[in-house]
Amino acid sequence: MGQGPSQHDAEIRRLAEARAAEPGSLLPILHSIQDRLGYVPEAAVPIVAEALNLSRAEVHGVVTFYHFFRTEPPGKQTVYLCRAEACQSMGSRTLEEYARKKLGVDFHGTTSDGRFSLEPVYCLGNCACSPAVMVDETVYGRVTPERLDEILAPHS
């Protein structure tokens, strides 16, 4: 299947060094790593730390503080389900239950076939047309369980 994290070392170093001179560049660097690899592997921590002259603890602290950064490879598609109040008012709790059952995973989990990761999100800014779901970077409004089936069908 995939390559081991160590095979990404050179790529990670290149991404880290490319922006190392910019002030406060840790988040942009982590974003660039995640954009490239889909996640921020543990092996990235010492490389990024060295490039920015930070301790490993500081980099680890930042990676784990922010919900958006993943430390495990995601599924082929990431399904972000909004759990915030506007979506709650239009039935997102039911949708949430349905999505967990359908995919057979809890939040932050990835289906055993590696197709989908399920992530909670607290607001996609689509609140006038709730409930909202984002698949990778595509947002869907007024999502019912039936609509979720349709949305995920082409990817299944």
Binding site: F65, Y66, H67
Partner: protein, 526 residues
Amino acid sequence: MTVTKVFIPCDTTARSLGADDVAVAIAAVAKKRGIDVDIVRNGSRGLYWLEPLVEVVLDGVRVAYGPVAASDVPSLFDAKFLTGGAHALALGPTEKIDYLAKQTRLTFARVGIVDPLSLDDYRANGGYRGLANALNMTGEQIVAAVTDSGLRGRGGAAFPTGIKWKTVLGAPAEQKYVVCNADEGDSGTFADRMIMESDPFVLIEGMTIAGVAVGATKGFVYIRAEYPQAVRTMRAAIETAKAAGFLGAGILGSKHAFDLEVREAAGAYICGEETSLLESLEGKRGMVRYRPPLPAMKGLFGKPTIINNVMSLASVPVILDKGADFYKNFGSGRSRGTLTIQLTGNIKRGGLIEIAFGVPLREILYDFGGGSATGRPIRAVQSGGPLGAYMHPSQFDTVFDYEKFAAVGAMVGHGGLVVFDDTVDMAEQARFAMEFCAIESCGKCTPCRIGSVRGVEVIDRIRSGENATANLVLLRELCDTMISGSLCALGGMAPFPVMSVLNHFPEALSPRVGDPEKVHRVTEIA
């Protein structure tokens, strides 16, 4: 052959309802029928219940059709919609639609009208006139105009924008910064997203004016990762502005320099708090800072920094264009100008309503919103995001005014309203306020970090009938502790929705048997 312009929004919400499919269908049918159309992907008018809203121009007036599904497109062509033909989805002139006609669009003047990335459109519709005026003024004069306009922070805290600017202006430093807080995390809000997706130049212009005013040469827009389209649009607009001399060295031939960079957030709600946002921009965990020093004195990288919300900065160009008095003449009491209300949740006609302060909540909910989407009675409205109180129908006559909302224990905040019908379980909503605080706490102070976890537990005990009376007393004490003992608004205000449930919906948290759904859910996760 004449080319007909067709406007189809590219805004996230419009796209979430199929606007892209509509655009594809219109292009395909036009081609098949040999009709030449020029599809413009404008922003959204904010009449979200009518999206995807397609517009054509008829004798210089935009007329609308909506909500359009891709399957409606052939019949629209059959009805000759390109020349305003009659159709079941025809809505007439867009600006005569009641919902829009009753608004006062100052900050949102161009939103939904222009092609977001057309600098020509922007300038043809009043853009960059504010900056042109600012370049002929001293820093003191610009700051005075912003102060005199009465503009207060639209992010939620409502602090006078001009006072922040004045502090930065008076702080001597070789390097100063302008930071835009575009980490719009409150549920029920999307005004910042709309500005960034639909009229990005207005934010660039507002930030440039801020930089010119206080002598800051570098700006950052900190945008949430949940808004990928806003990130892309802002980045593209910044490149366009740079290429045209509106950013960079010697702006419009003046001695002023100003550069702008987009930085993407990473999903931490707390980073909407200004000091943790600055930490995040510096590449650290988003931990709240102690104040003082104020960011205006020691902000980003320890330098004097203007940090304002998108809506505050996007309101500056119109103030500099039309004058402080023009802006100040709208409003009520000490709340001047316009508020962009975002009407969301269980509501028939959800959308963006920019209107002068002073309008009653009831008018927004029923005249604009048309009541709940489900047709059931409205039971509660959460105003001002996840840290705002749930307002009871008995409070619906409160008028939009920072002080008047505060007087009834509610908050205008960023202008978000989330509507719930009478099927809502208010105890569940109270629990969620604490749960959300526990998930999003930065962990710096104990009342927030531990208090929110205890809050969830105490509410669960009350709901399952365990020592309910004593636990209700405990819950109030816990709320008091969090309010008084937290460093920032997250821990300090998360109790507000909880207390509003205790005060206005007391039956929700009275002793009763456990919620079977809850028990079911817990078992399932395990």
